[in-house]
Amino acid sequence: MHSTKVSKGESEGLVANRVLLTLLVAALIGAALLPFAAMAPNRLVSGQSVGLVSALLAWQWGTLGLLAVLLGLCALSRPFSLPAAYRLVLVAAPLWLLLVLYGLGSYADRALEDASSAARISQGAAFWIVAFCPVLMIVDAFQRLHTNLALRSLYAALLAGSVAAMFALDVFDGLAILREYANNRELFAAEFATHLRLVASALGPALAIGLPLGLLAHRRSGARGPLFGLLNFFQTIPSIALFALLVAPLAALSEALPFLRALGVKGIGATPAIIALIMYALLPIVRNTYAGFAGVAATTLEAARGMGMTSRQILWRVEIPLALPVILSGLRIVTVQAIGLTVVAALIGAGGLGSFIFQGLGQYAIDLVLLGAVPTIALAVVADFLLQILVAISKPAGAR
C-alpha cells in the first residue's frame, strides 16, 4: 500500500505531498495577510494589529522562513525520498510551532516594556493559522508513515512537555490570556475542577444506563426500534433548548419534594446540566454497545455454547472482550462531546469553563473568552488522545 502511494506520488511529477504543500501555503498566506498579534491600551477596547514580521525578531522570522523552505522541499518529489521527507517534517514542523509560540511570548514581553500596566497583548488570526498548520503537518506525516501508537504517544508527550515547559518558564506571561488567568487564578482552578466534575458525573450514570441498554438492544430485537427512536430524538434537541427545558420541571420537582431539595436538586445549576449531558451521551454509548455485541460472530457464540460455557461465562469471557473496542470508541465520542457541551451548561448556572466564555462575551473581553475556550479544546484533545490509546489497547491481541 505504501509503495503504491510512493510511486503514484512520483508519477504525478514535482509535487509529492499535496497536503503538506497546501498547509504550508495556507500558513504563509495567513502570516502575510492577517494580524499576528494585537496590542490594546486596556482590556475592553480592541487593539492595534501587528503583522508577523514586525512582531517577531529578525532571527525568529528568518528561522521560520528557513523552516518553511525546508518543509516546501519536503512536499516536492525531489530532493528527498518520501519516507525521509516525512521524517524531516516530524522535525521541522514542531520546531516551527515552538518558535511561533516563543516568538509570540517574547513579542508580548518586549511590547509591554514601555506600555502602561493596563496594556494588553492578544494573539491574532495569523498566530492561530501559523500554529495549527504545523500540528496538522505532523498528524499527516504520522498517518503516511503508519507509525505505531506507542511512538506517536511518545512524540505527543514530548511536544506537550515542551509547550508545558514554556508555560512554566513564564514565556507567555505577557499575553492577555495569561493576565486573565493571573487575575482569576483561583476561580480558574475551581471552574476547571467543576468542568471535570460535571463531565464525570454525566459519564458515570450514562455508562451505567447505556451499557445495559445497549446489551438489551442486542438481546431483544423488539426493544431496538423504540429505544433508538427515543435516543435519536434526544440528540436532535439543540443543547441550549434542552438545558432550558429541564429548568422548569426540575424547579417544580424540587419545590414539591423536599428530600430532593435536600439532595441539592434545583431548577438551575448542576442537576439540569448533568441530566442533559446524560441524555446526549446515551445514544453513542447505546449504539456502540449494541454494535459491539452484534459484531461478535454467531459461530463464535455457537461454539462457546456447544463447549458448555454458561451464558454468564460467554458474556464476560467472549462477548465483552470482543465488543470492548467498539464500546470504548463510543465512550471516546461521548467524552469529547460532553467536554464541549458542558461549556453551554454555564448558561444555566452549572459553572465550568463555559462561565469564562459567557462572562467574556458579555464584557466583550475576548481574552477572557479564550481563557475558557482554549483549555476546553486542550481538554478535549487530550481526552480524545487518551481514549484512542485505550481503544487500541482493548483490541484483542489476535485482532490488532
Binding site: T300, R305, G306, G398
Partner: protein, 355 residues
Amino acid sequence: MIELQGLTKTYAGKDVVEEVSLRVESGEFGVLIGPSGCGKSTTLRMINRLIPITRGRILLGDEDVTELPPEQLRRRIGYAIQSTGLFPHWTVAENIAVVPGLLKWPKQRIDARIDELLNLFHLDAGEFRHKYPHQLSGGQAQRVGVARALAADPEALLMDEPFGAVDPLTRDVLQNEMLRVHRQTGKTIVFVTHDMDEALKLASRIAILNAGRLVQYDRPIELLTQPADEFVRNFIGKADLGLKLLSRRWVYQYQQSAEILEQPSSFHHDRSSVTHGWEIDDQGRPLCLHGGRLYAEESEQRTRVTHEWSATPDMTMKEALSRMVWFRVMVLPVLDEQERLIGEVAMQGVMGREP
C-alpha cells in the same frame, strides 16, 4: 454409545426431524447425510441440547441427556463446526484449554494436554501454541477446532460439516487425519456431511435422512450394494458406483504375493510362464518391475518403482486403481512403512475377487 429414540423436532407445527431412531455404538464413526435442509444439523444439535427436543429420547451411554444440566452435558461431548468457531481473541493454546478449564483441570494437566493434542494433529506445539486464529490457514484452524473439541477427552464427538469450507486437497488430508485420529482415540463420532464421498470414506455407519426422516442406516458397503429405496439409490448417485465401492475396499484385502526375480537380467517374457517380476535391493525395497504392462510389445520393459507408483496396505483400492491407470501398469508394488516390498496388487485382482 449414542442412541436416538423416536427423536422429533417441531418448528411452527412442522416436523423438521421426525421419529428418528438410531444407535451409534461406542467407537463407531456414524455419519448423518442427506440433502440440505433435511434436518442433519437439527438432529446433531439436539444431542448436546443446543436445540431443545420436542419428542423422543437421546441416550448418552445409559443416561438420558435431558436429565443432565445442559452445560455439564456439553462439556462431556466434543463439538466441532464448519466455521471452527475459534475464539479470535485467544491463542491456539487458550482455545484448546477452554473445556479443560471449565472442568477445572490443574494447569499442568491442561498444558500437557494441549501439547499432546497439537502433536496428534502434527502441529508443532512450540510454533502453534501462541498463534492467534487469524494467523492459521483454513486447514490448521480446522485441526485446532477438532483438537479443541477433543480437549477434555469427551465421551463422544459431534461434528457438523467440519471440512465443508476447506479446499478439496486440504479436505482430503483432513479426512485422512480424522480417520487416523479416530483409530487412535476410539471416540464415538457423529459426523454431519452432505458429501457422499466423504461419508463413504469416513463412516463405519451411514444414516441417510430425507425431509426429517431416517431412510436407511447401514454400513457403507450395504448402502452401496443394497440401497433401501429409489431415494437412496439416487442420493448415492448412479455414476461411479463401482469406484465408490472400491473407495470402501483396502489394498490389504486384495494383496497377493509378489514374484522376486533372483537374476533380473535373465527375465524374458517369452521364455517364462511368469508375466512379470520384481527386482529388489538388499534391503528388500523394490527397484523396478519387469513386464507387467498391458501390451505385449511393452512387456519387455522395466518400470522404475517410485513413491507415487506404489501402494500401501491401508490405501483404498480406488486410489490403487487410479495409480495403475495413470502409470499404465497392471500391477502395483505394496510397500510397508520402511518401503519394503511385501506384496503386490494387480488389475485382475480388482475385477476378480470379492474380499
